[in-house]
Amino acid sequence: MNLERAKSIFIFVFLGLNLFLGYHLFWSDALRLARVAVSKEELRRTEAKLAGQNYFIDAVICRTVQTSAFLTVSPCLDKQAEIVSRITGILPHPVQLEDALLYRGQGREVKVYPSGLIQIFFEPGEYLAEGSSGLEERKLLLAVDDFLLGQGLKQAQAQFNYVERTPNRLTVHYYQNYHGTPLFAGYLKVTVEGERVTAIELYWLEPLESPLERKMEVIPVTEALLRLVEELGPSPLPRRIVKAELGFFSREYNAEKWEVPPVWRFLTDDQCEFFVNAFTGNLEDL
């Protein structure tokens, strides 16, 4: 038997051995990648249970297995001075309120909270567009976008969330986007009354660490939905769940930095947001 032939035999032997070892090491992970977290049958069962409590799914449901990790964030405090001087014209001497600093400008007030939250009030309001409250959503968003750009408040990471309408006003909600995943804890709200923007609320976060480490499988969206309805109880009126997304959420902390858990965010047709911890299934408080 010549050397080349022996080499070929050994190559096949070791190839077989490596396949055997690789199977034992990685097969379970490979299976998980192809696995669905929510089968069609399970989705139907969940829909039926929800319907029994007067909740109806009207959103795209992610059925594949999802993984996520805690995201470390800190409050974004760098831009506070810049925003205050841009809104008020100069950086005036602040008035110390019980829980915030108040800056007054011509027809404008800016409240800066230690947590990083910034509230801007316009008196009597900044003109947005004619018939703003009656505009169709696309045109309204374009107008608000232009307004934020004009005020120097446009955030590159801001992603449209939803519009909340009441008889006298409407509020356009944005959330912070982190590498394509919603970071619901960071938000921007623009309040419009009539044709004018009367208030803006900005709470922006600084993601510090990549969530790639400590990645874990999250609970299926159906499990989160059932936990939510278990917590909320039956609804007196039919309620539709219009969005179901995986993102990050925690309440505001007046802290140096903190870890934000992954959540399943559910938005209902009456513009209520609910966040279910995607690891534990607990409802995160607003």
Partner: protein, 442 residues
């Protein structure tokens, strides 16, 4: 060329197989190994047995006309209590009498309990007793006989137990072994009104004892308790991968899994609000065993720490009964007051709230000084409340010497103080010059 490629491929496959074999062998734990790790006990200390959970609030040694006071941390306190406790335990724990000891028998010891001492079946003490709990016991002696006269709380009913001669001799010897050297004799303040000056009088309540002469004391050097944080986290959170961290601006850390939270700074704060609405149905003995388990698991029970109180209280909205327990550190017979304590709320569901900020007493630091006389201290406290706060009808509820822990992070010290509770307000006056250090409103 073809041959070299084959050689290269073969070498690569051999190396890959070695790497994969290594990964398979060492890289992943088997389920059995993981299970073993999960089974490892995660706690600081094993629970104390019931006989070690309760210690007396104070022991008075009667010597002729003098009264000597022993408290937790005193060199003779444990010697006396261990012997008395042992005499009250087991088969030979005295036989119950229908009558009382002779009138001419002499009181050797008075032992007071707060929290009360559980006795009778299911406890280590006086298993033949008809009482369930005791507030006080007296050790009486006459010739070769010794009796324990046990007293129930509130009603004041008494029950006597006679000890065999050999045990009586041992207890008599023990009481005589307590040296009065270096101890100030104590006085029992007579209940009634005490005139402290023109227009300034104080009503004295029952059971107040003070040192009759000034005492020599010095500042106390303390060390902040430092707990193993990793172990602490493992005791509170079963699944650490679900725990997230919040770093506060003062560098305190909050760990939470969304249901319960643990804040670590100088001490620890823990809360599990979901359990707050569970019932609290444990018996007194079960509650004592539970607190021993809880403090043992969550941080441990240092030698210097005494269980000060355990009571069912109403808390939360809507009000729900819950057990509240408090611990305090002692050194040389004096309690450490101020920000050095442990408090726990629990019910049938488990631990609901827990605060722990403890100091380890090290030694007397600095030069000793003579404390102010008790009358001067009482007068200073009464004048302050009367003139500064306008409090009328002053009632003295509690009085004693203690150490107040200062707030300094760098040089933690215990300052000797007179702790005086007048009409619900606790005043801590520096024992040297009676400067007011702290006022704690009711």
């Amino acid at each position: 060329m073809h041959g070299r490629l084959k050689s290269f491929l073969l070498v690569f496959l051999v190396a890959l197989s070695l790497f994969l074999t290594y990964q398979l062998w060492y890289g992943r734990m088997t389920a059995a190994v993981i299970d073993e790790k999960l089974d490892e006990p995660v706690y600081f200390e094993k629970p104390r047995p019931l006989a070690e959970i309760i210690t007396p609030q104070r022991i008075f040694v009667h010597r002729k006309e003098e009264l000597y006071h022993l408290r937790e941390g005193d060199r003779d306190f444990h010697l006396v209590w261990d012997s008395v406790s042992a005499a009250m335990q087991g088969e030979g724990s005295g036989s119950a009498l229908t009558g009382t000891p002779p009138e001419d028998s002499r009181v050797l010891l008075t032992v007071q309990f707060s929290p009360v001492l559980p006795v009778g079946p299911g406890t280590p003490w006086l298993i033949d007793s008809r009482f369930r709990v005791l507030e006080q016991i007296e050790l009486r002696h006459l010739e070769d006989k010794a009796w324990i006269v046990a007293r129930e709380p509130g009603k004041g009913e008494a029950e006597a137990f006679l000890f065999p001669p050999d045990q009586a001799a041992l207890l008599y010897e023990l009481c005589n072994s307590v040296s009065p050297a270096g101890r100030a004799p104590y006085l029992r303040l007579s209940p009634g009104e005490l005139q402290l000056g023109p227009g300034l009088k104080v009503s004295i309540t029952e059971g107040i004892y003070v040192p009759g002469v000034p005492v020599q004391l010095a500042e106390l050097a303390l060390k902040q308790e430092r707990l193993d944080q990793e172990l602490l986290l493992n005791t509170f959170f079963v699944n650490r991968s679900l725990v997230r961290v919040i770093e506060e601006r003062d560098r305190s850390l909050i760990y939470t899994d969304g249901e319960k939270g643990l804040r670590l700074s100088r001490g620890l704060d823990y809360w599990h609000p979901q359990l707050a609405q569970e019932p609290a149905t444990l018996t007194y003995v079960s509650a004592l065993n539970t607190v021993s388990r809880l403090i043992g698991y969550y941080g441990g029970w240092p030698e210097t720490l005494r269980l000060e109180s355990i009571a069912l209280v109403k808390k939360n909205v809507p009000p729900q009964e819950i057990y509240c327990t408090q611990w305090r550190s002692y050194f040389s017979g004096y309690p450490l007051l101020g920000k050095a304590h442990a408090t726990m709320f629990f019910n049938d569901g488990g631990l609901v709230e827990y605060q722990r900020n403890l100091c380890e007493p090290l030694y007397f630091a600095g030069s000793p000084f003579t404390t102010a006389h008790y009358l001067e201290a009482l007068q200073a406290a009464a004048v302050y409340l009367h003139t500064e706060k306008g409090t009328e009808n002053l009632v003295l509820e509690e009085m004693g010497l203690a150490f107040r822990v200062n707030d300094s992070v760098f040089q933690l010290r215990g300052v000797p103080v007179w702790a005086i509770r007048l009409s619900g307000t606790l005043l801590l006056l520096k024992a040297s010059d009676l400067t007011l250090l702290e006022e704690i409103a009711p």
